[in-house]
Symmetry: C2
Subunit: 389 residues, 2 copies
């Protein structure tokens, strides 16, 4: 196990009707003038935004609003938010929605305090200062409610990058699983794929002797298999939604990832799929992870994949040829993605073989390093994209 | 799953030689005059105390010292520490040692700010104000490094009670597994039993549909079976020690226990064993948990115990008579405790049947409620103590 530090000071408020406490927590964490950032659509229609505003009114906390966050959130709206935050002298940013609204809220929060272009932080500059952020989560998946990162798509070239810093962990996060029971199945399934992928990026590590974090990662994965299956059949199932929502936080506040090298190559390759073809991030991961695993099983030591196959999907160990077991795990994961209704090939999301050189080239734009278990080169990335065709 | 809040803002610094950073973190968390509280013995002999003091010197932070914390720490030393803290105008308390030194440090930290008798908080008054606490851990087990609680024995009557409050979570915790490699086997084993018991007190719950926390609890338990066996055979094994140390924190900062009723009856019954017979807390738990499980399997729904048996100890499910499987789990746990070298009966720690009425009576002194999965009465407690004879 490697040396590490771990610090996760977010105050989590979990359960039914908890969004009505939003104002109380904004006040507790010092917010006096709030920018509410949300997507629109269901957040407005469901009455959630009104309930959040009512809770701020109850605490006499003034706010301004910025709607319009879309899946794969764009830089343009972040610039607008930063301008608004400065003009209105905002001292707290509240993201209400899924990962997109909250990731944009984080970008606005550090962009507002920075004299230069906020995109600098998505080119690798560490985030060290931000207006405090809180959130009300409506979709389990990205884990942004407890994480240090924010993913935004730059509209000038359409590429997706990640910024990171301890100061953008939300001060508080309101997690009400009821808010997720009306999600369309594709979004639910995409969130499940993302949560599983967050665990797999950490599980497939060359660091030895990390049993406790292995077991915690497998705990998340086992839960997703059980509860994912349940909510896809019965979307209104509160208990299934609740288990998935808490697992989504656990999967990405890094309590499961400390002391070990992590990969993240598949996530980075996926960014090209969702920006190019407009699929959800989770759908892109469902397409790519089986291919990445197949490539890794062909080229690397298979022990991690055998462990995944037997512990997560209950595959029987083939002691004479562990590679067979390893591939059974990759196939079981792919089948589970299909069962959730997700695509598992690039062709299903509208891509074709001729696009692959461009996908592999673009992911290295402003970002030379990808992957750790497998160090990606443009050539290796092409091979993996091809396996996913 | 029940509604819950979760807040664990401790900054964890984990790995080799991390105790040399103690001064840096005291400074970061605002300490300007420190009381170092430790046990003595190995903390001094090993040079750990000197390294900690050197790190404070390097930051020019003055300190006073109070040694002498013993296993099952006593109220007398806490009174002494409170007096010293007030006299020296201490603004930070640093516990260096195992659970005893750190639990006493917590008691000194809130006692110093309280006009009345600090024992009031061990009679149920919630702790709401304390001098900041940090710690350097030398024994994995109690989980106090990331928890909100402190357990002290009142010398006036020799009874052990627990105080609790968010403000006594350590601001930072230094966890260096190297410091645990020289522990005597009995202390190592006692810590392992305590970590497992922390998970079992949460696992045996009547709250339904808590798959994610079930799986996290089982992750800790599975890790303890693997790594516990390893370090008992090979005490100097760093990797085994590291996995156990991080598991010990995970087992008790409550990330595994949110959204579900917890039991804690066995812990409360154990307090009487360690105060009466002077055994370690972990040894008392090894004695009592198999008996508590046997009683529960006789009187309650067995599904939780069947899950424990199959998922943690790999017992084969008896579909015709699940109770058989449930008991196999209890026996497997007892056998594992024996394998670690711990006692598994009251007679092995020097007790006898005639003591039982007094044990059962004393645990209700100043504390009327014990247990949740099984609500304990003095009569039920007697039955469980008898099963452990």
């Amino acid at each position: 196990m490697d040396n590490f530090t771990f610090y996760s000071p977010t105050y989590f408020v979990f359960g039914k009707e908890t969004e009505n406490q939003t104002g109380k927590y904004v006040k507790q964490f010092g917010g006096k003038k709030v920018l509410i950032h949300y997507g629109g659509g269901s957040v407005v229609r469901s009455g959630l935004l009104d309930r959040v505003k009512k809770s701020l009114d109850a605490e006499k906390i003034p706010y301004v609003e910025l709607g319009g966050a879309e899946p794969n959130p764009k830089s343009g709206l972040v610039y607008k938010g930063i301008e608004l935050a400065r003009k209105e002298k905002i001292d707290f940013v509240l993201g209400v929605g899924g990962g997109s609204a909250i990731d944009s809220a984080k970008a606005i929060a550090f962009g507002a305090l920075y004299d230069g272009d906020f995109w600098d932080f998505y080119k690798g500059k560490p985030v060290t200062e931000a207006v405090p952020v809180g959130c009300v989560l409506t979709l389990a998946g990205t884990g942004t409610e407890g994480s240090t990162d924010s993913v935004i798509t730059n509209e000038d070239g359409m590429y997706k990058r990640c910024a990171d810093g301890d100061c953008i962990r939300p001060k508080f996060a309101i997690l009400n699983p009821e808010l997720t029971t009306t999600l369309p199945p594709y979004q639910t399934a995409s969130g499940i794929a993302d949560i599983m992928a967050h665990s797999m990026e950490r599980l497939f590590s060359k660091t030895k002797d990390v049993e406790i974090t292995d077991r915690l990662l497998e705990a998340v994965l086992l839960t997703m298999v059980k509860e994912g299956r349940r909510v896809i059949k019965d979307p209104s199932n509160y208990e299934g939604r609740a288990n998935i929502m808490w697992a989504g936080m656990i999967a990405h506040n890094n309590v499961t990832g400390v002391g070990r090298a992590q990969d993240w190559g598949t996530h980075h390759m996926e960014n090209e799929l969702s920006t190019t073809y407009g699929c959800s991030h989770g759908a892109g991961l469902a397409v790519l992870f089986p291919a990445w695993m197949e490539y890794a099983i062909q080229t690397e030591d298979v022990s991690r994949f055998v462990q995944f196959a037997t512990r997560v999907f209950g595959c029987q160990m083939n002691f004479e040829d562990p590679k067979v077991t390893a591939m059974e795990g990759a196939i079981a994961f792919k089948n589970f993605m299909k069962e959730l209704g997700l695509p598992t090939s690039i062709s299903e999301i509208g891509g074709k073989e001729a696009d692959i050189p461009t996908l592999a080239k673009n992911m290295f734009h402003e970002a030379p390093n990808h992957g750790n278990f497998i160090k990606l080169t443009p050539e290796i990335a092409q091979k993996i994209y091809k396996l996913a065709l």
